[in-house]
């Protein structure tokens, strides 16, 4: 007997008991949904995250007061760390000269940029930066120019603006040489940034970059007084060495005793990804765990529904045996039926899981990835479930005595 025939048969018997079947399928769907949903969420976040990491550059690492990704209660550990002051950072930069390229910057959120009657949304990130910032951070100048060391030292009121500001404030006009206002301070636009798209649903083009000296004087508050240091090693080979060098230098600048822990974070691409990976692992383990528990419950449901089905179709089994069905045909038929049931539930779960993932992607404005691995995993799991929980009912069906079964009403 061919598989197709059995699948059609299975679908017919599902149709004959729609409500009962749907209820059982629901639990499979929920289990698979949890697995696929978590998988899609992780793939989507990972995809978006990795794109940004690549953009950041391979040989770059950052020194900052607190880590950029943290979850759980770990923030308590970081709360009392002292700021990395502008003075410390400047000294660091000076000492690292010749070893690697260092950029200092600081940033704050929620600014509104104005020009005449034009306003932007209050989501502009104001970045205070030094002259190395653009090279080290891969901020590409689209038109105009970046500011130089002299403009940083002299606290020149100049600004380089992101694409969102160009669009919202200038409406097609050439922004170079024009003035904009940021928190009551006038800046002359000397350059524009190449569009960077968005990350986790936030536009990366709502940015304005001003000299760090100006930022520190007028725009830093207690939350944003710690300077972030970004260091770019001259080659990949020199990265590890540069990291070691930087840690030593920062420790001495912050007067740490040899037995004290670092009071700053060094983040390479790798360490950020691993922080992120541990977060996404939690999510995946959670999805997988809750999914598997629900699938176990679903499996018991499948076995139950199959046992009922065997009981109800005793006569049918008797007829089939009387006209010459061997054990293996009956076994095969009921196992295929169980697998079909599981696959159907699984497909519904996959569909809604992927849909939920796409929804999340749309919400944070990133393209959602379909977690192919997890989809394949789900299909395999459903097959194994059908096999595991369908075998006993199928064996029961195959072992029925044909005479008894024929007599059953």
């Amino acid at each position: 007997m061919n598989i197709l025939e059995s699948i059609i048969q299975a679908l017919q018997s599902i149709k004959a008991n729609t409500l009962r079947t749907v209820l059982t399928l629901l639990s499979i769907s929920i289990g698979i949904f949890a697995i696929i949903g978590a998988g899609t969420a992780v793939s989507t976040l990972e995809g978006s995250f990795n794109t940004q990491l690549v953009a950041m550059g391979q040989n770059t690492f950052m020194i900052k007061r607190t880590p950029s990704v943290n979850f759980g209660n770990s923030w308590r550990k970081y709360r009392n760390r002292k700021d990395i002051t502008y003075q410390q950072a400047k000294e660091f930069k000076y000492q690292m000269e010749g070893i690697s390229l260092v950029s200092l910057h600081n940033e704050t959120d929620g600014y509104t940029a104005k020009r005449n009657n034009f306003f932007t949304d209050p989501v502009v990130t104001l970045i205070g930066a030094d002259e190395n910032f653009f090279v080290v951070k891969n901020f590409v100048i689209e038109t105009g120019r970046a500011f130089g060391m002299s403009e940083v030292t002299s606290s020149a009121p100049v600004v380089i603006i992101g694409n969102d500001l160009v669009v919202q404030l200038f409406n097609g006009e050439n922004p170079i040489g024009q003035f904009i206002t940021l928190k009551n301070q006038q800046f002359q636009v000397i350059g524009t940034l190449k569009s960077q798209g968005s990350m986790f649903g936030r536009s990366l083009d709502a940015q304005a970059v001003i000299p760090l000296t100006v930022f520190s004087r007028y725009h830093s508050d207690e939350w944003t007084s710690s300077v972030e240091i970004t260091t770019k090693a001259y080659s990949k080979e020199q990265l590890a060495e540069a990291v070691d060098e930087s840690i030593g230098m920062m420790r001495s600048l912050r007067n740490l005793k040899p037995w004290e822990d670092n009071t700053f974070e060094v983040e390479t691409n790798e360490s950020v990804s691993s922080q992120f990976a541990s977060f996404s692992n939690y999510l995946q383990v959670f999805g997988l765990g809750s999914g598997l528990i629900s699938l176990l419950a679903a499996g018991v449901g499948i076995m139950n529904i199959m046992l009922v089905s065997v009981k109800e179709r005793t006569k049918e089994i008797g007829i089939r045996k009387a006209i010459g069905a061997k054990r293996k045909w009956i076994l095969f038929q009921f196992i295929i039926e169980a697998i079909t049931l599981c696959q159907l539930g699984g497909l519904i779960g996959i569909f809604f899981g992927v849909l939920a993932g796409q929804g999340l992607g749309a919400l944070i404005n990133t393209e959602a990835a379909i977690p192919v691995n997890w989809v394949i995993f789900s299909i395999v799991i459903c097959t194994l479930m059908g096999l595991a929980f369908g075998s006993y009912p199928a064996w029961k069906a195959a072992s029925l005595d044909p005479i008894e079964a024929l007599r059953y009403e």
Partner: protein, 238 residues
């Protein structure tokens, strides 16, 4: 004389029921030859159903010898018996026993599916069998869309489609009115005259009268085994 299709020698069948041994068949010996038309008669509890189950390879005797076409049935596994039922025996039941969700055509195809016939061959043979019983226009009807007589014709077509050695009919007219019953008996008469071997199991004298040989069972033994001197051959439908 040719070799018997069925050779039974001193078979007995006992069941354990609630600690008691029930002797359904005690000592039965008989031979059935190709192209015989046999009626197996007896009141309920006589053991005729047990005998039919054994003849139909649904059950095996507790003791004695049963050879089918020279093969020792006692030695067979469940799957061997299934194969014999599939290829050599065509069952027709009192309650038709069609699959309710399958069309007439699918019902007839079923034994062919189990004997591993390709799907085109299957369909062709099933259509032919259905036409032979006069239901060529009812192929896609489900059992509940057919009358009792039509259902039994489908069952007969299903029994015939594998070209079995024996047609084994258990009270085939039991659920039919007299007129339809006679139609079905006419069908068996035709099958027999075309060379098929037919075994009828019944408790009705009227039905048994169609057969050429009548075996009466009582208390698990053969009471009489006689040639029917006046078989019914004309079919006047009242």
């Amino acid at each position: 004389m040719s070799n018997p299709l069925i050779h039974i020698e001193h078979i007995a069948r006992t069941y354990e029921m609630g600690g008691e041994t029930v002797h359904a068949l005690r000592d039965v010996s008989l031979d059935i030859f190709p192209n015989e038309y046999v009626a197996l008669m007896g009141p309920s509890g006589s053991g005729k159903s047990t005998l039919m189950n054994i003849l139909g390879c649904l059950d095996t005797p507790s003791s004695g010898v049963y050879t089918f076409k020279g093969l020792d049935v006692n030695e067979m596994t469940d799957d061997d018996l299934a194969e014999i039922r599939n290829k050599e025996i065509g069952f027709v039941f009192q309650t038709f026993n069609l699959l309710p969700r399958a069309t007439a055509l699918k019902n007839i195809e079923l034994p062919l599916i189990y004997s591993g016939i390709s799907s085109e061959d299957r369909k062709e043979r099933a259509i032919k069998a259905l036409e032979d019983v006069g239901l060529g226009d009812r192929m896609l009807h489900r059992p509940n869309e057919l009358s009792g007589g039509q259902r039994q014709r489908v069952a007969v077509a299903r029994a015939l489609v594998t070209k079995p050695s024996i047609i084994l009919a258990d009270e085939p007219t039991g659920n039919l009115d007299t007129k339809t019953g006679i139609e079905i008996m006419k069908l068996f008469q035709e099958l027999w005259s075309k060379g098929n071997t037919v075994i009828l199991v019944t408790h009705e004298e009227d039905i048994a009268r169609h057969a050429r040989r009548i075996i009466r069972i009582r208390d698990g033994k053969v009471e009489s085994d006689t040639i029917n001197p006046n078989p019914v051959t004309s079919f006047e439908i009242p």
